[in-house]
């Protein structure tokens, strides 16, 4: 019995057993293609459908949206999503594609939308039938989200949307977007409002893929030109956009009140340390096995210590006696894990040496050239969703209480 299971109430134990049995019986067949590492990297229609089918099945099986009330298509069993998540992780099943919808849109809608919107949108997000995206960043509003400038102007009983959102993951599949917008220029924060906006095949909306430094696509820019939407698409009051956005970001950081299903990085696979050890055993550095090179050994050991330190952080975060401030470890997660991934990829290139020049289509590339790709992509993660610099501000200000830097 797992440690978590030991503390189950009878109701939780029953649900856990149900989940486990359901997963055993409904595990999707192994795909004949390689799944991308994360949902937001899905670019192929076939992959998308495979994942969408899987999500719908898991939703119908009662493993998604368990904490949401039944009137919004949820399971109505508060506190149970965590159980389902543990079993999904243990079951080594694929992730769900509607990652932005589940993690950010549904909680935001639940906390701030009208009854009508909640009944309309939450079920389709949970089931994955409609994919959602999030529109916060703009060319002029990166780390400084509140300088958002997408203008929404009242015209009769409609609102007219004009603006430019960027880094919009999954917009190429999304039907709807949650959007932080500007309804007034008089105040930076109080001039912000929050809407749900239709983005699929919609007049006034152009979606264009952005190309990453890797050469891959994977996110988009979304341009609004005189898009008309009704007032009913607004969340919370005019001028309350920043407050709503804080709900979204809190859930993005995993610190919200509603637990999303496991949709992030797959828990499966080897640790980074193991992968580097394997790589160093098969690569040669200056003609000798890289694993025998003292410099490489020190670097791999550094990754090993860091990686294990973060894993043990997660363990310690749940021990109140060893964490004087409950937010201290959780708020470190983003910067720590993304920078670890970047270091590990850096070390991988050092192991490969000259061979790190070889990209993914080169037959001689070690590990099929995925390390240079991983290295390049690692910057997406140290930049997106609050750069490492912004994360350090947050930690210095919220955890340590130092003066705001901006």
């Amino acid at each position: 019995m797992s440690q978590a299971a030991k503390k189950d109430t009878p109701e939780q134990a029953e649900y856990r057993a149900y989940c486990r049995k359901w997963i055993e019986e409904n595990r999707p067949e192994e795909p004949d293609f390689r799944l991308p590492l994360q949902a937001i990297e899905v670019m192929d229609e076939g992959v998308k459908e495979y994942l969408q089918t899987w999500q719908k099945k898991a939703y119908d099986g009662g493993l998604i949206g368990v904490d949401y009330p039944t009137e919004y298509g949820g399971g109505g069993k508060s506190g149970m999503q965590t159980i389902a998540n543990q079993e999904l992780a243990a079951g080594d099943v694929p992730y769900f594609i509607n990652v932005i919808g589940l993690g950010m849109c549904a909680p935001t809608i639940f906390h701030h939308a009208s009854e009508e919107l909640k009944r309309r949108f939450i079920p389709q997000i949970l089931s994955g039938e409609m994919i959602w995206c999030q529109g916060f960043s703009e060319p002029g509003a990166g780390s400084d989200l509140a300088s958002c400038n997408t203008s929404v102007v009242k015209k009769g009983d409609k609102w007219i949307v004009n603006g430019h959102k960027v880094w919009t993951s999954l917009a190429h599949y999304a039907g709807w977007m949650i959007a932080l917008v500007r309804t007034s220029n008089h105040d930076k924060y109080k001039g912000l409002s929050f809407f749900v906006l239709p983005v699929q095949d919609t007049k006034g909306v152009t979606i264009r893929p952005l190309i990453k430094i890797t050469g891959e696509t994977g996110f988009n820019e979304v341009i609004f030109e005189d898009l008309e939407v009704p007032d009913s698409y607004r969340l919370d009051d005019v001028g309350k956009g920043w407050t709503v956005a804080m709900t979204t970001l809190t859930h993005e950081r995993g610190a919200g009140t509603l637990v999303g299903p496991n949709t992030g990085m797959s828990a499966r696979g080897a640790t980074r340390t193991q992968r580097l050890l394997e790589l160093a055993k098969k690569c040669r550095r200056n003609g000798k096995p890289a694993i025998d090179d003292p410099f490489i050994r020190d670097r791999i050991a550094l990754v090993a210590v860091w990686e294990e330190g973060l894993a043990q952080n997660q363990r310690r975060a749940k021990v109140p006696g060893l964490t004087d401030d409950p937010m201290r470890i959780p708020l470190q997660g983003k910067v720590s894990f993304t920078e670890l991934a970047q270091l590990a990829a850096t070390v991988a290139l050092e192991i490969e040496g000259q061979a790190s020049s070889l990209y993914i289509a080169d037959p001689m590339a070690p590990d099929s050239g995925t390390w240079p790709l991983t290295f390049l992509n690692s910057y997406g993660n140290t930049i997106a969703a609050g750069t490492s610099e912004v994360q350090r501000n947050i930690l210095g200000e919220r955890v340590l209480g130092m003066a705001k830097s901006k």
Binding site: K281, R297, L302, Q312, N313, M402, A403
Partner: protein, 382 residues
Amino acid sequence: MAQPKDFGFGEDEKMVRDSARKFIGEHGSIEKLRKLVGGDPDPEKSPESLYDAPAWEQIVELGWTALAIPEEAGGVGMNMATVAALAEVVGGHAFPSPLIASLLTTLVVREASGENRNELLGEIAEGKRVALAVTGNEGAWDIDSATIEVAASGGSVVLSGFSRYVQDGGKAELFLVAGRSAAGLGLYAVPADAKGLKVTLDQIVDRTRDQATLELDGVELPASAVIAAPADGTQVLEKALPALLTVVAADMVGASEWQLQTTTEYAKTREQFNHPLGFFQAVKHPIVNMMLEIDKAKSLVYAAASAIDNKPENAERFARMAKAQASDTAAFCSDRSVQLHGGIGFTWECDVHFFFKRNKHNQFLFGDGAYQRSKLMKILAG
């Protein structure tokens, strides 16, 4: 055996830790520390071993010297997480005391199986001040580096040679000495007043402890002094090593956390250019980095503690990681704590130097980060 999710740090363990925080918070306050070891700063003066003797007696009464001793040997038998927590509190106050030396010695003795082990543990529990003398002439970090020679002489043994870098040796009434004979390493209980033993205090940078060099010139001991028989000594020391590393790492975690909190506090209150220092990212971000490093080190310390108790096959791996991370953390936090305090941080009157020096000392004790990583790689990659 599965490792407990909470590292074995439950309510009982927390109670001990909290009582340590309270006691050492009072008897090891920064004011007391300053008074005790901050006196004459002259770097050329003769070394001294300074600690609060009455506080030590109370510590013995509180039972901390019995904490790591198994129940069957008359101790309290608390787990390694408790020992680590205690060491963290000691480090967090840079508390000069025979306690760390007592714990380190206990952790070795309890791995021995000789008939005299329990008696010695009993003496330690009752407050005998002991220190570990296992390091040879060259200060090598490998735990079996002792260079003292042991000869048999009738029913007794005779020890000769040097033991260096004996931590808090100036406070000890008895040394656990590693000595080498043809049969291998053995461990011997050598009273501080043994004939032929000369204890010289090293002059060290860190004022919150002492360090001694032992010269043994034919020290003759009865058979009852043998704690681990020749040939058993190496195994005993190797078995104890993860715990030794964990204690020193925990001490650094505590001291580094003090550096973090103190530097943060200074960054909140000190103003320059019409802003508190912490407004400036050149101050704020390095302080955040201190925190990130400390948390990894702390988690690894308790992971190591938990492995020692519950999964010994992982103990060395986690303990090497903990000491590696804690050593680098201690070096980084020490560096930034002085730099970010600016001019005042460079003065004797500012308390940061006590922790700076304690951390720099512990960074190298039993091996620094690079050494631990090289040993770790032997486990991970062969």
